[in-house]
């Protein structure tokens, strides 16, 4: 557990970066500090490993004041991941990852063996071990950065805007990877970002800070979306928060109606309405329009592109947001539900989603 007790950071020129911050960060969870630039989120993070010294107040890690240890010793016990990874250009990927264990006195060979395992952990092929950072892509560098922070198996991980310098597709991958890793490792992660969507996606709890270093709200992402404490938080959380809040509600119970399908290459029948066209493994390829005049075999050129897919697995039903989006983005108005293998299992409509939402609201599942 990390505790901020009325922590203030005031710089020599009088600017206050963090103002009387009280915050308790739970063990084994991802806590996200989010806010506009100048809100002191990075300063708060860097005070935990004394990269910035607090002007007043106390920070406790597992009950012990961080000032009871020398900074270097404290930092070796806390994982640290930063924007652009900050890898050492002159060292191979393997030696980058082995840095902290070697600082702690582990033999070089043992540290390198452990580093190889960590490549697997963060989803990188072992062939990269002997490469240098300049030979990696931005996403790969960031994965190495995470592996390096995990090398000495610290209980706490500090991550300072780690994914903000990579492109959106890679960022999405890295976020998924972090959630997967966290489900295996259960570290106490403090994560700083300026991106509220990233905060909501990753955080078990989210602390919204306002300019001047004051804590505005500290809650679960669902509560933050449903009940922002004031206009600042509401504004920062942004548009469509009602819609985005659906992401936290299970689509369990949404009716998946049977959907008639055609297979690509089949002769086109006289169509009576929008029809899903699938491949030989029943994976959706697109829609045949209700006004289609195709004669003979159905070819891909005859199809209208489909919307997003709603994965309705029996074990893990998707969110209401995914179900609703599939219906709204579909040209036919009916969202395609697929199973884990991607085969069509049926269709969902916006109405059926709203019915489930209504029921959830009545049963008190939706915070209001």
């Amino acid at each position: 557990m990390i505790e901020f007790q009325s922590v203030t950071k005031r710089y020599d020129d009088g600017t206050v970066a963090v103002d009387e911050l009280d915050l308790t960060i739970d063990d084994g969870k991802i806590t996200v500090l989010v806010g506009p630039s100048g809100c002191g989120k990075t300063t708060s993070l860097r005070m935990i490993n004394r990269m910035v010294e607090a002007s007043s107040g106390t920070i406790l890690v597992d009950g012990a004041d961080i000032r009871s240890q020398r900074p270097a010793a404290l930092r070796r016990g806390i994982g640290y991941v930063i924007q652009n990874a900050g890898l050492f250009p002159h060292r191979t990927v393997l030696d980058n990852i082995a840095t902290v264990p070697i600082l702690l006195g582990t033999k070089k060979a043992a540290a390198r063996r452990r580093a190889e395992e960590l490549l697997d952990t963060v989803g990188l092929p072992r062939e990269l071990a002997k490469r240098y950072p300049a030979q990696l892509s931005g996403g790969q560098q960031q994965r190495v950065g995470v592996a390096r922070a995990l090398a000495a198996d610290p209980p706490v991980l500090l991550m300072d805007e780690p994914f903000s310098a990579v492109d959106p597709v890679v960022r999405d991958d890295l976020q998924e990877e972090l959630l997967r890793l966290q489900s295996e490792l259960g570290k106490t992660i403090v994560f700083v970002t300026h991106d509220i969507d990233e905060a909501i996606k990753l955080g078990d709890k989210v602390a919204v800070l306002r300019v001047g270093g004051k804590l505005a709200q500290y809650d679960t992402p669902a509560t933050l979306l449903a009940k922002p404490v004031d206009d600042f938080v509401a504004g920062f959380v942004g548009r469509d928060r009602g819609y985005r809040a659906l992401g936290f509600l299970s689509a369990h119970g949404v009716e998946v109606a049977p959907l008639s399908t055609l297979t690509l290459g089949e002769p086109a029948p006289v169509v009576t309405g929008w029809t899903v066209v699938v491949d030989e493994r029943r994976r959706p390829l697109g829609w045949l329009s209700a006004k289609s005049t195709v004669e003979g075999e159905i070819r891909s050129a005859d199809l209208v592109a489909g919307g997003s897919l709603y994965v309705a697995d029996s074990t893990a039903a998707g969110s209401l947001r995914a179900a609703l989006d599939s219906a709204l983005s579909s040209p036919s108005g009916t969202g395609i539900a697929v199973d884990a293998e991607g085969a069509v299992v049926g269709g969902v409509t916006a109405d059926s989603v709203l019915k489930v939402l209504d029921a959830a609201r009545r049963s008190g599942e939706v915070p209001s």
Binding site: N49, R75, R76, A85, G86, P89, H90, R131, A134, A149
Partner: protein, 234 residues
């Protein structure tokens, strides 16, 4: 006979390659020239590299470096050497030459080391500190290894300048290849003078190749430009 033929005739004369009747041959002049150069570059490196590393690491005194480099760039080496000999006496001519050459090499090495350490990726330095390296470890394990390409650049540049300038040692009655240039001039033996210049240039080229080889061995492949597969995809 063209000047090139004269130079080659002078250089291929076996008498010029051995020391006879107290007249030094080319090998001895080479040894002297190398001695002046190595002495000056080593002393300058011992002073300038730690100082540049300290200033680069702490970030304090950067303007001092710029000031020193700029003011020394205008230093007239020959005038300085003669002044030093006048003050110290001809008996200390070697010391005077060494001081003059050290003062020539320091600004280059200081600026190169300072810039090298300063230009290390700030994110890498921040990460090093954040992972629990002491300030000394940050300097020795991260900043200096990454600064090596620029430090070597400065070392090569300083060595070339010192080799070229060590010629003036002959003015204060010392040896080195400068002897041929100075004596050739005063005796109006232009073949000797030109041959001296060629020898100095050849020494400079050999020194440059040697240092480039050492650099290739010492600097991490991760810092080499145009190394295989070096593509920064962000």
């Amino acid at each position: 006979m063209s000047i090139f033929d004269q130079i080659s005739a002078w250089l291929s004369d076996p008498d010029h390659w051995k020391t006879t009747l107290g007249i030094a041959g080319i090998p001895q002049r080479l040894a002297e020239h190398v001695q002046y150069t190595v002495l000056a570059v080593v002393i300058a490196a011992v002073i300038a590299i730690p100082l540049g590393a300290y200033i680069g690491h702490t970030g304090r005194g950067g303007t001092l470096v710029v000031g020193i480099v700029n003011s020394f760039r205008a230093l007239p080496e020959l005038g300085l050497l003669i002044l030093l000999v006048l003050v110290m006496g001809l008996a200390l001519a070697l010391e005077a030459v060494t001081i003059a050459l050290v003062l020539l090499a320091i600004p280059v090495l200081l600026a190169g080391t300072y810039a090298g350490v300063r230009n290390v990726d700030r994110a890498a330095v921040d990460a090093a500190r954040g992972m629990g390296m002491s300030e000394w470890q940050v300097l020795v394990k991260v900043e200096l290894p990454n600064a090596l390409p620029l430090i070597f650049g400065a070392l090569r540049s300083a060595t070339l300048q010192v080799i070229a300038t060590a010629t003036i040692a002959a003015v204060v009655s010392l040896g080195g290849f400068g002897r041929y240039v100075i004596d050739g001039n005063s005796q109006r033996e232009f073949d000797q003078m030109a041959a001296g210049a060629v020898l100095i240039a050849a020494l400079a080229i050999v020194a440059e190749l040697l240092l480039a080889g050492v650099q290739w061995l010492v600097v991490s492949p991760g810092l080499r430009k145009n190394s295989r597969g070096r593509a920064r995809v962000r």
